[in-house]
Subunit: 470 residues, 2 copies
């Protein structure tokens, strides 16, 4: 009995000791492994967190971008509450601190030249288009070598034109401006007669962008004045011996047609819309002065960046002098941002960008044309297909604006007719045409375009009813 | 014997079991604790690694900033090699791909108005002044409510002036421009007579900033012309019945003196230097039009940002119209950057910033004055102490420029005299004064200032030798 008990305790003891040993080995292995895991984590932690001085600004930008604003607004880093929270800026028809309140009777506002329909593309390309600007970025007036234009940006723009095939840049000069607006004025100064007893007559063909007249008149120069529109017979007769400067907008604002000059003299080509998303590109433009802008290419109107491509050296130097006299060069922050945006624009020969934009514009024109096909009251500008080198196909133009005409005799204020149907557009007289026309922007956000289509569809569906029904 | 053996096994068994139990309890506590640590790390990990779309740009910015360029150059994110490596832009006197090659015979270049002496302050404040701009930041022409000026920035500037005590802003209007340069021109347009048969005479007192004349003449308006300097008797006699617009620069460029108008009529105050680092601030300036710039406050000349504070509503609206006609508003990227920089400038009532800047300027003036005290050939502008409200002490002005005069009769081209001593300065005639004066910038980098002092000390030490020695 005792021997059995002995054996029992002995066996149990040895089993227990074996368990002790196994537990100890297990603990050793586990703790050691945990330490190595911790160390590995430590190293990965270190290598992911190599961000130091940029981290705060980056985190803030991401937090602001993450503010959903109910999907109907946007928050930006330059506008935060006093405790650093994003502030939602609501899209048209929405309100409330989180933009969740919808106004049913809201009008579609389609007056602006904004290209916000491109915003989703830039959101999709967030990582490649984010820019971090340090507090000490480019403090000097000049870049290295004393210039005020970023060489990398100029090279990128030349490459862009080569890819899009829309302008000859080889052997040409380039000048940057605060938007195309500043370059229009610079070009007028550069081309003007320099003779105060015979100032240059500045002209444009109706319909034309109002800035041509307003800006030219505003500067009240001794050497040029805004004469008016090219169609007027008086202009034609009176310019025989006078110095003429003609604005040629091609594609035109608002109708999107490719234009040629009326006179054979000095011309300033405003070609801000000459891109594959708005028009077929039959050939690279080859004019003495061609002006483009970021606003109408990528949609970054708020950045205020444009460029001119110039043939003549003397004209180039005069335009450069204009920029210098006006404001001692343009913002280097803006030039950095333009570089980042355009580097992504030209990625993969521009295909992702131009296909995105062109697809959107085509969809919109298809829907608009379809809606207007049911109307006798309203018409759109004619569009004729022609060959596009960029997309290598024959296609219709897809202009930024619908140039809507009210066909009924009594509808001589087309803007008012649309306003009664809750569409806010830009009257034809703003573009020196008649008010029988009104300009409707098609480059708005998708929500705004959907609302526009609802409003147009409603208006058109009422056509068979009487005016009183309206 | 057996009983003893029994007891021994029994006790050992129970000890072993107790050890097992303790081991098990220990393992439970350890592993549980480790899990909780892991979970906590997991959460912190998540919150530190929430950076997604900004990470690439942030990492690139930090990598570029980390390029040492041997301490004698700077790399920027807008200029990388084709494989994404930083490119060193070398400071004066240095060259080579890493800026390590020093040119012994290098001249001190002190012509520019850059405030690069402030760069170290912005590097020290890297985290607070970094800006991350998303690819979709502010694409529209306008901010919310249809404006082109960022309200937060306007408020920040008003606060800045209140802190510095250098300008009255309450009840005043504000206009932003592309640098102070654009606002000078906007002000002339706004104040001009509007009568082409009696254009306004634009005047300034010698010495004056060349842009007043060059810009005013360039725009060749029917309604104003640059008449000349206020000191000329002819001007005084001929302006009795004429419309006068006077530029008053206070503190003056180049001598740093506080100025008053010569005529009692319309005046545009260029007050870009009226900050505590350049002059005592005896009172807040209270003029009809006061123009300031980021360039001469924080040193961010490349950003091209200025503002005007305006009393009269009509003048304000005309200046706003000028900006609108010139370039449809100023860059919203630049306005964001200005906001970030100015928010740090006004931190702690501006003390870290203004003390940094003022200390540097005082050191430099002390050293310069000491060196010039040994000279009879060269003299500096007189400086008289007066009370500064900001620093609450009586102190000397510490102007951005030394207005050096060559006292020897034969030294009538002072710029050339300094150039022979390897100092490149700006001749007095550029500021409509005589070439007996030359302007030397004291706001350069520390390395450049050290070189300037070496060159001046050399020049001055040679004074007792003959001219042939020079």
């Amino acid at each position: 009995m005792n021997k059995m008990k002995n054996n029992c305790y002995g066996i149990c003891f040895f089993i227990s000791v074996a368990i002790n040993i196994l537990l100890c080995i297990g603990i050793y292995l586990y703790i050691g492994g945990a330490r190595r895991r911790d160390m590995k984590q430590e190293i990965s932690w270190q290598s992911s967190l190599t961000l130091t001085w940029t981290e705060k600004a980056a985190a803030e930008a991401e937090a602001v971008a993450a503010a959903s604003c109910s999907g109907h607004g946007r928050a930006f880093v330059d506008r935060l509450t006093s405790d650093g929270q994003p502030v939602c800026e609501c899209f048209n028809c929405y309100s409330g601190s989180d933009c969740s309140v919808y106004s049913l009777e809201c009008a579609a506002v389609v007056t602006s030249g904004d290209l916000t329909f491109l915003e989703p593309f830039w959101i999709q390309n967030a990582a490649n288009t984010a820019v971090v600007i340090s507090g000490w970025h480019r403090m000097s007036y000049n870049y290295a070598h004393g210039t005020k234009m970023l060489t990398e940006l100029e090279n990128c723009i030349r490459k862009l034109h080569s890819i899009a095939g829309n302008a000859v840049t080889e052997g040409r000069y380039m000048v940057f401006g605060v938007g195309s607006a500043q370059l229009l004025s610079a070009a007028v100064y550069a081309l003007s007669s320099g003779n105060s007893s015979s100032p240059s007559n500045v002209l444009a063909s109706i319909p034309f962008y109002w800035l041509f007249r307003d800006q030219t008149s505003f500067f009240s120069s001794k050497y040029f004045e805004f004469e008016g529109n090219t169609n007027s017979l008086q202009s034609k007769n009176s310019t025989n011996n006078q110095d003429v400067i003609e604005f040629v907008t091609s594609p035109n604002n608002p109708d999107g047609e490719l234009k040629k000059p009326v006179f054979g003299g000095k011309a300033i080509y405003d070609q801000v819309f000459y891109w594959p998303h708005f028009t077929p590109i039959p050939e690279p433009s080859d004019q003495d002065i061609m002006i483009f802008s970021l606003s109408k290419l990528t949609g970054h109107a708020g950045s205020r960046f444009g460029w001119a491509i110039i043939k003549d050296r003397d004209v180039y130097e005069k335009m450069l002098l204009y920029i210098s006299m006006s404001d001692v060069g343009i913002s280097q922050d803006t030039q950095l941002r333009a570089l980042k945006i355009l580097e992504t624009t030209i990625d993969e020969d521009g295909k992702p960008f131009f296909e995105f934009a062109y697809t959107k514009m085509t969809e919109r024109w298809d829907r608009l044309t379809s809606a207007f096909s049911k109307s006798t009251r309203f018409s759109l500008q004619n569009r004729h297909p022609f060959h596009c080198n960029y997309f290598n196909e024959t296609r219709l133009p897809t202009p930024a604006f619908a140039w809507v005409k009210c066909e009924r005799e009594e509808d001589n204020d087309c803007r008012a007719v649309l306003e009664a149907g809750k569409i806010i557009s830009l009257s034809g007289s703003r573009l020196s045409a008649t008010d029988r026309y009104t300009r409707v922007s098609l480059t708005v956000r998708q929500d705004d375009f959907e609302l526009l289509m609802i409003r147009f569809t409603n208006l058109i569906s009422l056509e068979n009813g009487s005016l009183q029904t309206m």
